[in-house]
């Protein structure tokens, strides 16, 4: 491959890496905005730790588990601890004669940013009541082991890949995986105190919708890298197409959630529309390169429309998810995976079945793994803070600090004399 072309391809993946990185800020902002003031430090702390823990574990064993090399088609494999150094430029160019092959640095860092993402999804769903220590242990093990194993099934050339499963950028492999783990956590933790009362559901509004909105825009921003980088080259036609389908699906999701939430609730709930944007993005992720613009709008629009229904459904089931992570990532992740069998160039009953098999086997494995892990933590060190700690807020009880301090005995106001 021509050096200029190689460099341009590599450059795009590196830039996509940066964009996926900033999705962690997107998640942190969104989740911080949707929890109560008294749990803000806690959620920010978790999200800061997650990205670092994710990168370290993915470096140490995750990458080796996810890309075991060899013949492929398997269920489990492991190559090595750490990653190999790439060769020099000449050998990289030579290896890329048939198409762009990334240097191992680039491949690792791009994939590493993805890995931590799925843990971040869990963080929002279990917010406001989980013990910090248990959560960090869960995340470390989950990202180190579970995520790369199911990832290998498809992206590492494993059995699902051989079977013909299609998941372009991770509607299943990242989003539904995060969502299934979140569901396990929600089930074992129980709802936040006071959420489901005899008199019905008590809404617990987030403390800062500006931060939530900031988070959603940053996620959309990062999604250009998430989906666009998943082309795995800077191919002029493909990346552009993915940008178009991704954006139009997000736009469709916005409008879908806008309409359905208005029909259902007779008002304009910003938190629903924000979830709708994300629903559209998650929905298109499995088939972003297969869809026409109109199909992208349809997939995104349906995903957005699902959001208010799904949020209400989970609340009916008393599955308490402060940020709507299960609706966005689990439900729309499943929808996006199946949509590959319904819309676009691969549509067909056969493909739909394979998609179903893919998302359900990965879902089962992930759910079981997460459930058992959370369960072990629950019966050993415990996963839930005490009711008193929950009432005070995790910021005081876990961090002994407050997100918005007034640092003087009194909040000195505008005109202190």
């Amino acid at each position: 491959m021509d050096e200029g072309l190689y460099i341009a391809n590599n450059l795009w993946i590196l830039i996509a890496t940066i964009l996926v990185f900033i999705m962690h800020l997107g998640f942190a902002s969104l989740e911080a905005g949707l929890v109560r003031k008294k749990n803000t430090v806690n959620i920010l702390f978790k999200n800061t730790m997650i990205v670092s823990i994710g990168l370290l574990t993915y470096y140490i064993i995750g990458y080796g588990l996810m890309y075991p090399g060899g013949e492929g088609g398997g269920f489990f494999g492991f190559k090595q601890f750490g990653i190999e150094e790439p060769g020099d430029l000449a050998s990289l160019l030579a290896a890329s004669s048939e198409g762009f092959v990334m240097p191992s640095w680039t491949d690792f860092i791009f994939q590493g940013m993805f890995a931590a993402t799925c843990a971040t999804i869990v963080s929002g769903a279990v917010a406001e009541r989980i013990k910090l220590g248990s959560f960090l242990i869960f995340v470390t093990i989950f990202v180190a082991i579970s995520y790369p194993i199911t990832g290998m099934w498809q992206w590492g050339g494993g059995w699902l890949n051989v079977m013909g499963f299609y998941d372009f950028a991770g509607s299943t492999l990242v989003h539904a995986v995060g969502g299934f783990a979140a569901l396990a956590g929600i089930l074992l933790l129980g709802a936040r105190t006071g959420k489901y009362t005899d008199k019905g559901i008590k809404p617990i509004p987030g403390h800062s919708l500006p931060f939530a909105t900031l988070g959603v825009f940053l996620l959309w921003f990062g999604w250009f890298g998430f989906n666009g980088g998943s082309v795995l080259s800077a191919d002029a036609a493909s990346v552009g197409k993915v940008f178009v389908t991704t954006s139009l699906a997000a736009a469709g999701g916005t409008v879908g959630a806008f309409i359905i939430s208005y029909v259902m609730f007779k008002t304009h709930d910003l938190s629903m529309v924000l979830n709708g944007v994300l629903g559209g993005l998650v929905g298109i992720t499995a088939g972003a390169d297969l869809m026409s613009p109109m199909e992208a709008i349809a997939i995104g629009g349906i995903a957005g429309a699902i959001i208010p229904l799904s949020v209400v459904f989970f609340d009916k089931m008393k599955l308490d998810d402060p940020v709507g992570a299960t609706s966005v990532h689990l439900v729309c992740g499943i929808w996006g995976t199946l949509a590959v069998g319904i819309f676009g160039s691969s549509a067909g009953l056969g493909q739909l079945w394979i998609q179903f098999v893919g998302v359900s086997t990965i879902g089962l494995f992930t759910f079981a793994f997460a459930f058992i892990l959370f369960y072990i933590l629950k019966v050993t060190i415990g996963i839930r803070v005490t009711e008193e700690e929950e009432l005070k807020g995790l910021d005081i009880s876990e961090h002994e600090m407050s997100a918005y301090s007034s640092s003087d005995t009194v909040a000195y106001n505008l005109n202190v004399q």
Partner: protein, 112 residues
Amino acid sequence: MKKIEAIVRSSKFDDVKNALSDIHVDFFTFMEVKGFGKQKTEHIVYRGAVYDVGYIARMKLEIYSTDDAYEEIVKIILNSAKTGEIGDGKVIVTDITEMWSVRLGTKNESAL
């Protein structure tokens, strides 16, 4: 000496303040309070669940006054805070045993 406490609508605060100012009552203390009363509260919708806020934000004024002046002040507040709709609030008067000015160290009338 009397202490007048008035709980009024936040939206009427400026009117009350101006009306008091017209009779040269320029000194008072106020704070934001919340009230449960006959007035129905707003409802809020969040992620499909509707709930009543349950209370209404109000302003509370505290005015220290002489025994001579307080009746007029009460009258002025009653007039200027009134809309006639449910939720207009209350005014109460209590007796002050002693009142001091921190700056002057003086007591009662001379402390105003």
